[in-house]
């Protein structure tokens, strides 16, 4: 069977690899090339300018602010989302009280209903979610401030997206709200495949909910959590964060640059200011940040794989 094995493999790989090279690798190389030019994006003429765009980027306060916000997104969002999702998934699948005659492990009462509810935001387009929350955050007649007024908190009427101290957190809350359901389902699926006898053994040993979670569930779910972490990081650095910042925030990107993120800055430079070359330079920086993030997550998350 060794005969022709490689030809067989190559036959399968050639097309996907070719497509990958054409639509992923080649644009990457092109983009890096354009970051060394002064291309405007509006005419075919451009010249090489060496590292001028990079020098400019390192002196650009707005770039540093957007980098800072993007990093904060990549750090805080996965932490909060995955933490919440793990908690919800645990309660839905394992955390219930033991009922006489029931299965050894089960979720809290009504858990199948919660599972569906948590997943709801996932079926809404992120653009619609952002618009809905933009209405909710309206300080004059939005639902949040109306609710506050309704319960007698007339003096607590924050500006939400209009307040530089709150705006970024408001945006993050929307992203958490819209993505947590996906991870609940993902982790639920992972938990369902953990053998019940492990839990039974733990119960016999007298383990409570917390120690069951940290000693049994989390270690056996580690691979899923790790890939969820990378996936969430991508969302936080990429398209998702762009959509909410672009649609919801002041400016967009404000107030006072408090919500600007790297993807938004790429977009503004390329399509508003006619500075496509500089935009690709920021794009290259974004690429570096994203790859570094993935590498870091994989390195820190390296653990022995448990077989069961």
């Amino acid at each position: 069977m060794q005969h022709g094995k490689y030809r067989f493999i190559v036959g399968f790989l050639a097309v996907p690899l070719g497509l990958y090279a054409l639509f992923v690798i080649w644009p990457f190389i092109q983009s890096i090339y354009y970051s060394f030019t002064d291309w405007t994006g509006l005419s075919p003429e451009f010249e090489m300018v060496g590292f001028a765009n990079y020098e400019r980027m390192f002196d650009d306060d707005i770039f540093w602010k957007s980098l800072q916000h993007s990093l904060l997104f990549a750090l805080v969002l996965p932490l909060v989302t995955i933490g919440l999702a793990l908690f919800f998934a645990f309660m839905i699948n394992v955390g219930g009280k033991r009922r006489r005659g029931g299965p050894v492990i089960s979720g809290v009462r009504g858990s199948s209903f919660y599972k569906i509810v948590y997943f709801f935001p996932q079926v809404l387009s992120i653009a619609i979610v952002a618009l809905l929350f933009a209405f909710a955050y309206n300080p004059d007649s939005g639902s949040i401030n109306s609710l506050l007024r309704g319960i007698g908190l007339d003096s607590v009427q924050p500006l939400w997206l209009g307040d530089p101290g709150l705006a970024l957190w408001c945006v993050m809350a929307v992203l958490v709200w819209s993505t947590v359901g996906f991870f609940v389902v993902l982790f639920s699926a992972g938990m369902a495949s953990i053998p019940a006898d492990l839990y039974e053994a733990a119960l016999l040993d007298g383990a409570g909910r917390a120690s069951t979670f940290f000693r049994i569930t989390l270690p056996l779910l580690w691979d899923t959590v790790q890939s969820g972490w990378v996936y969430m990081g991508i969302l936080a650095l990429g398209a998702e964060s762009f959509a909410v910042v672009q649609i919801m925030t002041t400016g967009p990107g404000g107030p006072d640059y408090s919500t600007t993120v790297m993807v938004l800055y790429v977009y503004q430079k390329a399509f508003r200011d006619g500075q496509a070359a500089y935009a690709t330079t920021i794009g290259v920086a974004l690429l570096v940040v994203t790859l570094a993030f993935a590498a870091l997550v994989m390195r820190l998350g390296r653990r022995e794989r448990l077989e069961y």
Partner: protein, 498 residues
């Protein structure tokens, strides 16, 4: 910018794709999957780059232009009567009917010519690749959220000089040049630096302070001409539970619509020109300080509608139309944009901005009005003469009236309002222009330096000041810093008033 259609001023509403893949393997993927994922992540991280690059690279230099036709009295631009004309319109707040009507006239005059007309909101996505290939259409309405930067286009020699059009006889009167039928400021706005006129702004926008005449009457007040009177009117309104002012808090670059002409009125046009020219210390002029302090007083005295800094343009206009606030700085498009929330008896009116007092340099009535809806003829178009001829048709009295009737806005054609019924806001705008006479100012920051005007001066300067987070002195210092930064930035093109 400087465009009056709805889409052009509203923030870009483009949204990224919702990247929600479904990688749900029950047991969780192994290390190899993670590597694949991190590669996929690269794919997502630079989407803009890749699709940008898709449209660059080799541009064709094919110059198969249409031959010139015969120059006659009826055809002063020597249009080739059998050459195809391609016209791409921005399909925005003004719709496309007005342009289709004008295309019909072109087809009547040149029965052998085919006109390829299309309307889109995606000006940049459709046309950017065609500029890069060197095959742009013959006439473009370059407007909306996807407006192409005209400074860059002109700087890269992509635009045709419209001087032949301006010097051609007008459509209605062969003894009058097109240039002489236009409203003041239109030709200058089309110049970027030097004599060539690159842009023909077709619509004409009146900026100022918009209010309901009915609401003002109910307070027994007339529109205030000095700032003390303004504060008195706001106090009266406040007693009736109505805020004096509101504005598009999330897009504070609406504030200049009344603030800049006020600065012009108080300190003279030179102050505004110095600001546009990015001269050192232009913002430190006493007139600027006086006007900033006046606006800050509105905040200090609680005359600004609560929560305004968190409202977008639609939300603030809605609150204003519902009578929660009396005044709003805006442009003449507000009549169309707020039509569905404005009560029938609202009696919309616009006024030139209130000044400080009688020692102001210019009289009350000094107003900001300028062109919107920029039309361009690409230099590399095949039928540039046809593109200009189409514009000449649109600048006739009949076409202008047609536009005003259909979309409730004025055009660059000076006149064209006789014999048609005007809506309250439009009527008030025409009256304001008449009152202003020659005192029409035209600050250019919003066309010349979009980033400076919108996010730096607008959001980070004025927005912060009106939310009470900066004092006027701090705001001026910050804005002057931004202006100096822009003046020094070699990556952008700089302009000067002629």
């Amino acid at each position: 910018m400087g465009s009056t259609s709805d889409e052009s001023r509203t923030p870009d509403r483009t949204t990224g794709a919702t990247g929600t893949s479904t990688g749900t393997t029950a047991t969780g993927p192994g290390r190899r999957d993670l590597i694949k994922r991190s590669a996929a992540l690269g794919l997502i991280s630079v989407p803009t780059m890749s699709f940008l690059s898709a449209c660059a690279s080799s541009g064709g230099g094919d110059e198969d232009k249409a031959e010139a036709g015969e120059k006659t009295a009826k055809n002063p631009l020597a249009v080739n009567d059998s050459a195809q004309l391609e016209f791409v319109l921005f399909d925005g707040g003004f719709g496309k009917e007005y342009a289709e009507d004008a295309v019909k006239i072109y087809e009547q005059n040149f029965p052998k010519a085919k006109v390829k007309f299309s309307a889109t909101q995606k000006i940049q996505s459709t046309l950017q690749p065609r500029f890069n290939q060197g095959t742009p259409p013959d006439l473009i309405d370059n407007s909306g959220a996807e407006q192409m930067d005209m400074g860059v286009l002109a700087g890269k020699s992509q635009l045709a000089d419209l001087t032949p059009l301006l010097d051609a006889p007008s459509f209605d009167d062969p003894n009058k040049k097109v240039r002489d039928t236009l409203r003041p400021g239109i030709v200058e706005m089309g110049q970027l630096d030097g004599d060539p006129v690159w842009i023909m702004y077709y619509a004409y926008t009146v900026y100022g302070v918009w209010y309901s005449q009915k609401a003002l009457d109910s307070l027994d007040a007339t529109y205030p001409e000095t700032w003390d009177e303004m504060l008195a009117v706001c106090e009266k309104a406040k007693k009736k539970g109505m805020a004096g002012w509101t504005y598009a808090g999330k897009y504070p670059y609406y504030l200049p619509f009344s603030l800049y002409p006020m600065i012009g009125k108080v300190g003279g046009v030179e102050v505004l020109d110095a600001i546009d020219n990015l001269e050192p210390n232009a913002w430190k002029h006493p007139a600027v300080k006086a006007c900033f302090e006046a606006y800050y007083e509105l905040y200090k005295k609680g005359y600004v509608l609560k929560g305004t800094p968190g409202l977008d343009h639609i939300q603030s206009q809605t609150a204003w139309a519902k009578g929660k606030a009396l005044f709003i700085p805006n442009g003449s498009w507000v009549e169309n944009e707020s039509a569905n929330v404005m009560p029938a008896d609202f009696d919309l009116a616009v006024s030139a901005p209130t000044g400080i007092d009688s020692s102001d340099k210019l009289p009350f009535g000094t107003i900001w009005a300028s062109g919107g809806e920029p039309f361009i003829v690409p230099a590399k178009a095949k039928n540039t003469a046809g593109g200009m001829e189409q514009l000449r048709i649109m600048l006739s009295e009949a076409s202008s009236k047609n536009f005003t009737t259909k979309v409730k806005s004025l055009t660059a054609y000076n006149g064209g309002t006789d014999g048609i019924t005007l809506t309250p806001g439009l009527k008030s705008g025409v009256a304001a222009l008449e009152k202003a006479g020659d005192n029409v100012v035209n600050p250019r920051l919003q066309d010349w330096y979009v980033q400076l005007q919108k996010e730096k001066i607008g959001v980070s300067g004025l927005g912060e000041m009106m939310a009470g987070r900066l004092t006027p002195a701090e705001a001026i210092k910050k804005i002057q810093g931004y202006a100096d930064e822009t003046a020094k930035d070699t990556s952008i093109k700089h302009y000067k008033h002629q």
